[in-house]
């Protein structure tokens, strides 16, 4: 059989098909990767807007850039094993590598200038599983959706003329995302604490605990400090690094402790809106104690190269339908890829 049995018209039509099929697949791949729709919200857009508001700081995280590593253990009392089959909730000890940080993309920001603080933890389970969680010292998240978070970053960017966010833009943002009003009201009356040690850190997003029978329980969790609250002092505002200095000083005197408190939802509690706190009367389970023993600067510390992706979960903990979780996971990965590449370049280790 040869080409001669085809007419010229047939040949042209078939040749066109030979080109058109791969071309269609190429276009489909470009679309799937977001290259044809640069306006669509993607991990790239999210990281780009954070970079714009925090400035470019190669080698650092795109958000929560300033922080320190902490090392310790989680001592489980077994109470949470009734609702989660995760091995770390059986009675026993799990090593933890954590990180305290302040929000924002600037690793040189003065500690007192940023009211939002975070605690990120990576639990290393004996079987090779991990639980990574990034928590914030906020009662609820400012916005419910990824679009809301993006719009908030754009609206709160300082106006070059005044050096402050444009009030018109902020107003437009709140009109578009009215759930942010509750957060803005909370910020107004909020007095930050004097230390990471006496802050309470909350998961904000909802998750599902899976018990031994396979039943799911909707939960949120908090690290509740055993150290009493003290408001930020006037003196703290003279030290750009007062949070890190305070932590070092406290840990020199002994370990710091938090209780891991699991809040269990009741039917009707929202699973997909981190801007809504659940009623305070919900059942809580004290799952055990986080004991932090020492702190290491992040540049030399083991937490620096950990991506605290909230979707790295052990068997027994699963994501909820909260849309922010996927966005955090995708954007953290992007930020991680950028900074690990920059760090390798800085150290001469990249090919």
């Amino acid at each position: 059989m040869t080409t001669s049995s085809l007419s010229t018209g047939q040949k042209i039509a078939r040749l066109a098909l030979v080109g058109a099929i791969p071309l269609a697949l190429v276009l489909l791949l470009l679309w799937a990767g977001g290259w044809l729709t640069p306006q669509r919200l993607s991990a790239n857009n999210l990281v780009a807007v954070l970079q714009q508001s925090g400035g470019e700081h190669p080698g650092y995280r795109r958000n929560h850039a300033k922080g320190v590593c902490v090392i310790g253990n989680f001592i489980s009392n077994g109470n949470a094993s009734a609702i989660s089959r995760a091995a770390l909730f059986a009675p026993g000890t799990t090593p933890v590598i954590g990180r305290f940080a302040i929000a924002g993309g600037n690793p040189n920001a003065p500690d007192y200038a940023v009211p939002v603080r975070s605690m990120a933890l990576a639990f290393r389970l004996a079987d090779g599983e991990q639980w990574r969680t990034g928590m914030n010292a906020l009662p609820f998240f400012p916005v419910a959706t990824v679009d809301g978070f993006y719009d908030q970053q754009v609206a709160s960017m300082p106006d070059p003329a005044t050096g402050k966010p444009n009030p018109e833009k902020m107003k437009a943002f709140v009109t578009k995302h009215p759930e942010a009003k509750a957060f803005m009201a909370w910020v107004k009356q909020y007095v930050p604490s004097s230390s990471w040690a006496n802050d309470r850190f909350n998961s904000l997003n909802a998750f599902r605990f899976i018990d031994k029978a396979g039943n799911a329980h909707l939960v949120r969790w908090s690290m509740v400090p055993q150290t009493g609250y003290q408001p930020i002092s006037a003196q703290d505002k003279n030290d750009k690094n007062f949070l890190q200095d305070d932590l070092k000083q406290r840990l020199a005197q002994g370990p710091l402790k938090w209780d891991l408190v699991i809040t269990v939802a009741q039917p009707g509690d929202v699973s997909n809106d981190a801007s809504k706190a659940w009623p305070v009367d919900r059942q809580t389970i004290n799952a055990g104690t986080l004991v932090l023993d020492r702190t290491v600067p992040q540049q030399q510390g083991p937490c620096n190269d950990i991506n605290y992706d909230p979707l790295i979960l052990p068997n027994g903990i699963a994501a909820s339908d909260d849309p922010l979780l996927n966005a955090r996971s995708a954007a953290y990965a992007k930020s991680y890829n950028l900074r690990t590449h920059e760090q390798a370049k800085q150290s001469g280790g990249s090919l």
Binding site: M1, T2, T3, S5, L6, K11, R14, L15, L17, V18, G19, I21, P22, L25, V26, L28, L29, A32, G33, G34, L41, S42, A43, N44, L46, D127, G128, E129, Q130, V146, D305, I306, N307, L311, I312, P314, N315, A319, D321, P323, L325, N326, A327, S329, A330, A331, A333, K334, Y336, N337, T340, H341, Q343, A344, K345, S347, G349, S350, L351
Partner: protein, 179 residues
């Protein structure tokens, strides 16, 4: 040496199964790193076990490829085209084998648990090391794009043989007709 018109049925089966798996994998890969929707975690959870499946299948396929008789290209094909055909096939095999290993290695170097779902975890194949991750992560993207480009050329050549040249080359893999 024995002359055959078709690839061994097991090789043909693996070829078409892997064609579907690899195309799906490439689309999943580019979509999962871009999207911030709920597809992100779903795609990530498919990407890892599917990658391991491709690694296992390519090992079986390479073994079969070496131990079965394969059809030779028709004499109508000029020498340089035979060269290109063989080169592209070995490039495809090399990338199919390397890409899952690069993915596994980069996750190991980042200290991520390589989870396949339901608490099944693969052991790390590299120690935790930022420089390794910083090298392997962009390499994983680069090999993905090279693999996609080579698969598209392979597809265009296959279509040319099937629709225009009709010289039996396509049918040696499709198994649809005797020469």
């Amino acid at each position: 040496m024995k002359q055959v018109a078709h690839f061994h049925p097991a090789l043909r089966f693996l070829h078409w199964l892997m064609a579907a798996a690899i195309l799906a994998m490439l689309f999943i890969g580019v979509a999962m790193v871009s999207t911030v929707s709920s597809l992100h975690s779903l795609l990530v959870s498919i990407h890892k076990p599917l990658g391991l499946m491709i690694l296992v299948l390519v090992l079986v396929r390479l073994w079969l490829r070496f131990y079965t008789v394969t059809p030779s290209l028709p004499r109508s094909i000029p020498g340089w085209q035979r060269g290109v055909a063989h080169l592209s096939h070995w490039a495809l095999y090399a990338m199919m084998l390397l890409q899952p290993l690069i993915g596994w290695g980069m996750l190991s170097a980042a200290g991520y648990p390589v989870t396949l779902g339901d608490g099944i975890i693969l052991p790390p194949i590299l120690p935790v090391n930022n420089d390794w991750y910083a090298t392997l992560r962009p390499l994983h993207s680069l090999v993905a794009l090279l693999l996609f480009a080579t698969v598209m050329l392979h597809l265009a050549a296959a279509l040319l043989h099937a629709l225009v040249l009709r010289d039996g080359v396509f049918h040696s893999m499709a198994g649809t007709r005797r020469r």
